[in-house]
Every structure is written in C-alpha cells, then in structure tokens.
C-alpha cells in the first residue's frame, strides 16, 4: 500500500507545484523565483508537521513522501538559481535554505505539540 500512497500524494503534489508556480509568477515581475520558494517553504512546513506528529506509515507515505516530496523540488531550485544574476542567486539560496529550515522547525514543533 505504501507505493500506492506515494503515487496518490505525488499525483496531487506535482501539479500543485506547477500551478502554484504559474499563479505566483504571474503576480509579480521581479524575476525572483517566488513560486518555487513558496512551494519549498510550504512543503518543508507540512513535512515537518507530519514528521513531528509521528504519523502512521500510510499517512507519511501519502502526505510526506508523496505530496510534500513532489510539491517541493531541488532540481528546479538549482536550475533557477544558476540562471539568476549573482546577487539574486545568492539571495535565493540563502532565503530558500533559511526559510525552509525555519518552516521545517516550526512544523516539527507544532507537530510534536499536537
């Protein structure tokens, strides 16, 4: 059942990333990849939550491995970063890592408290 949960979660998470990116990137003209930033931070928070509550293997596979894994991306983050002008690339790197870490920590704390 675990692979099926991964499939179901990813079937929602990947299009959610694609559509969120389209929505966010159509709302600003800064050239900064806010769409990828947003999905990575939100996904880090949700995975922290799932990990913090010590969810069942099925829920972890569905929401964690499937949904959060497919909602977030390192490859697009890498591709976008190497195509940004140097100051924006540094800003994207630092902001994504710090915000992702912070969101993960918040999720873990909230999950553990629940």
């Amino acid at each position: 059942m675990v692979p099926l949960m991964v499939v179901l979660g990813a079937a929602v998470g990947a299009p959610a990333r694609y559509l969120t990116d389209r929505l966010v990137q159509s709302r600003h003209t800064s050239g900064f990849p806010w769409g990828t930033f947003a999905v990575n931070v939100v996904g880090s928070f949700v995975l922290g939550l799932v990990t913090g509550v010590a969810a069942s293997p099925w829920v972890t596979a569905l929401v964690g491995t499937g949904f959060c894994g497919a909602l977030t991306t390192y490859s697009t983050f890498g591709w976008e970063t190497v195509h940004l002008p140097r100051p924006l690339a540094v800003a994207n790197t630092v902001a994504s890592v710090l915000a992702g870490l912070g969101a993960a920590g918040l999720g873990l704390a909230v999950g553990a408290a629940l």
Partner: protein
C-alpha cells in the same frame, strides 16, 4: 478570476506534470529504500540537478514538443528531487545537537546540487 486564468490551456500540461511527478516520486521512494536518510536524499538531489541541466538544455536547444518540459523537468525531476526532506532532515540534525553534520549536509547539498546543475548544462550543450 485567478484560478481560471491559471488553469487556462493547462488541460494537457497538468496531467503530464502529474504523470511525471508520480514516476519521479516512485523512483525517489525506491532510492530511499536502498539508501535511507540524508545520504539517499543527497544522491537524489544531486543526480536530479545534473539531469535537469542536461534535459532542459537539450529541450530548449531543440525546440522540443511542448509537453516534454512539463513531463520530464517539472514532473519527473521535480517529483524525484525534494526540498522538504532536505530541510526537515537538516533541521532534525541541528535539533539533535549534531550542528557540524547538519551544517555540512545543508551546505554540501547546496554546493553539490548547483555544481551538478552547471555540469548538466555543460553536458547538455556537448550532447546537443
């Protein structure tokens, strides 16, 4: 309406992203079984970054079919790589007091992933 605007013309790319995302996520899950924890995630993210460098460089240069990018790059490679597992695992290392290892994992993945993306683009230009 924002939602209809975002969905317009997306009846083919969205299923392509979903199908690719499922394949990528299953591959990530399988690698995680063979190599659990941060070492597996590191490998997944670095390989995925190299692959996106190759794939997008070749697809853009060749003016490939418009569904190949959503399927292969956004779907398969986006579903294969993960930022959330990276962030949560790094945060757990830091919370356990393994500061050096956590910091090395954070910075090591970042450096290796960016170098792999450049290397993939270089390989893609050569391949093309």
């Amino acid at each position: 309406m924002v939602i209809s605007e975002v969905l317009r013309g997306q009846s083919r790319p969205v299923p392509a992203v979903a199908a690719g995302g499922v394949l990528g996520a299953l591959a990530r899950w399988a690698v995680g079984l063979a190599l659990p924890g941060p070492p597996g995630t590191f490998l997944i993210n670095v390989v995925g970054c190299f692959a996106i460098g190759v794939v997008l460089t070749v697809l853009i240069a060749r003016g490939a079919h418009p569904l190949l990018r959503p399927f292969l790059a956004t779907g398969v490679l986006g579903g294969f790589t993960t930022f959330s597992t990276y962030a949560v695992d790094a945060q757990r290392l830091l919370l356990e007091g393994r500061i050096g290892l956590g910091a090395a994992y954070l910075v090591g993945t970042l450096a290796a992933a960016l170098v792999a993306t450049w290397a993939g683009m270089w390989a893609g230009r050569w391949f093309h």
